[in-house]
């Protein structure tokens, strides 16, 4: 077994273990913190795949922004005791059924997708290639995502500050 295979199994174990803990942890804040660990592990998998840029983006966006936002929200809405606040761990049967359905669905999608296998070596630097593709071939989706995010930001501002009728 090569070093990268061993590292892969270690990271995979961390990702799966923390993902299971997200569902089973009784305290919602702990669940959110385990989710951070999951995101971190996924970025480790990207490093193994030699997708440096993607790994760094994963940390910056998911760990640095999205997870912080979720934990922030959970903490601000905390009640007196934080035990038993994780809905998924207090309703075991419902969670079990939902998780099973999701897993079967994902497994089906992964096994049935015809993956493109390439025997080219991984490109040295992916940043430039991703940037070029974003501004040439995928420019329309890129712009649409930009507009979507702008609308979401404006919506958030209106929701928190309240809209005022124009005179």
């Amino acid at each position: 077994m090569s070093v990268s295979t061993i590292v892969f199994w270690i990271i995979a174990a961390v990702v799966l273990g923390s993902a299971i803990s997200v569902v089973t942890a009784q305290n919602l804040v702990h669940a959110a913190l385990f989710m951070v660990l999951t995101f971190f592990g996924v970025s480790g998998l990207y490093v193994l795949l030699e997708a440096d840029f993607l790994a760094v983006v994963q940390i910056l966006i998911y760990v640095g922004a999205i997870a912080v936002l979720i934990v922030f929200g959970v903490m601000l809405t905390q009640r007196k005791g934080m035990e038993e606040t994780n809905v998924s761990s207090s309703h075991k049967w419902v969670t079990g059924i939902l998780v099973t359905i999701l897993m079967v669905g994902f497994a089906y999608a992964v096994t049935r997708t015809p993956w493109q296998v390439s025997d080219h070596a991984a490109p040295e630097s992916t940043v430039g290639l991703i940037g070029e593709l974003m501004l040439t071939r995928f420019v329309i989706p890129f712009e649409i995502v930009g507009i979507l995010l702008l609308v979401a930001v404006l919506g958030a501002i209106i929701l928190t500050k309240g809209a005022r009728r124009l005179p």
Binding site: V29, V36, L60, V63, G64, A67, F72, L76, S125
Partner: protein, 348 residues
């Protein structure tokens, strides 16, 4: 001089040839050299922290017209070492209602990203621990990890002042991350690379502070806010929040937060030097000496700012970040883009 210039590179080379003599496989040799590098970096961090704590107290003393530490050693240089032993000997207090694991994990998790930053910084000619092609981006994503640890510290303490301090830290760090990243983008656009070694190499003739002065000022302000240092030290504003996130921490756990702050400060100054002050470029002296000279000049500036300006109010902080710094950095980006195109047009 040539010997001094190549000192650290030669030590690494010597270790490599020595181990090659013992006929070790190549991967193990690289691993050992990497571990040596990590040990050197941790040593550097500790020495830096000892010097900086003393320097900060001396500067504070100078500005407030008092001597500062002056008992242990010449001009009190050994004060920090004595303080470290005092902190190590203190009782480790964990509040009864604290979320134990979150509370325990928070201080090391603040410190670890701070060390990880040093992995990609070019300290001198041929002296970059890991030459990553997304180096700059790596720095900022690692720096964003600190936010989560502050949140853990604030929440784990189960104390309203800690929680409020943690929330303030996060709000501040998330807001000022945006102008920080945008200010740096101008440099990236000019160089066309995220590799820190490439950025240093591009400044061989002219430092980027001359081409990008606005970006440098934005970077300096946003970085001070990211470091939670005065005048942006609201998260620990003692008149309002006791000590903010640090309220419940004592002994070595508390010291780790401060070690992390100084580690981060050196890293921030090092990135500023790399991006705007030509990195290790400089005449006469060895390259790594130039690098640390510039880093310490910027740190000196950070310290003078901290002790001369009063703390900014919390709503002013947000207004300043979102309504002034972000538009300014966006305008700087636009101007940079136009400038690059004009330059290309003139060159033909």
């Amino acid at each position: 001089m040539e010997l001094l210039e190549r000192l650290f590179v030669n030590i690494a080379g010597l270790a490599r040839t020595l181990m090659a003599g013992w006929s070790l496989p190549n991967s193990i040799i690289e691993l050992v050299v990497l571990i040596l590098g990590i040990i050197a970096i941790i040593g550097l961090i500790i020495v830096d922290a000892i010097i900086l704590v003393w320097l900060e107290r001396k500067i504070a003393g100078f500005i407030q017209e008092r001597p500062g530490p002056n008992r242990l050693g010449p001009a009190g240089v050994f004060q920090t070492i004595a303080d470290t032993f005092k902190l190590l000997g203190k009782e480790d207090v964990i509040p009864r209602s604290a979320d134990r694991w979150v509370f325990r994990l928070a201080p090391p998790l603040v410190f670890v990203p701070a060390i990880m930053l040093y992995a990609v910084i070019p300290f001198g000619k041929d002296m970059v621990p890991v030459d990553l092609n997304v180096g700059l981006f790596y720095c900022f994503s690692i720096a964003s990890l600190g936010t989560m640890s502050f949140l853990m510290a604030g929440w784990g303490s189960h104390n309203k002042y800690s929680l409020l301090g943690g929330m303030r830290t996060v709000a501040q760090m998330i807001s000022y991350e945006i102008p920080l990243l945008l200010s740096v983008l101008g440099v990236v656009m000019i160089v066309g690379s995220l590799n820190l070694s490439d950025i240093v190499a591009a400044q061989k003739n002219v430092w980027f502070i001359i081409i990008q002065p606005v970006a440098f000022i934005i970077y300096l302000i946003a970085a001070t806010a990211e470091l939670n240092r005065g005048p942006f030290d609201l998260p620990e504003g003692e008149q309002e929040l006791v000590a903010g996130v640090y309220t419940e921490f004592s002994g070595m756990r508390w010291a780790l937060f401060f070690l992390a702050e100084y580690t981060n400060m050196v890293a921030t100054a090092a990135i500023a030097v790399t991006l705007f002050f030509g990195g290790w470029h400089g005449p006469w002296l060895p390259s790594w000496m130039w690098f640390f000279l510039k880093v310490y000049l910027i740190i000196f500036f950070f310290m003078v700012i901290k002790w001369t300006y009063p703390r900014i109010r919390v709503d002013h902080l947000m207004h300043f970040g979102w309504k002034f710094l972000i538009p300014l950095s966006l305008a700087n980006l636009l101007l940079t883009g136009v400038g690059i195109e004009i330059y290309r047009f003139m060159r033909g």
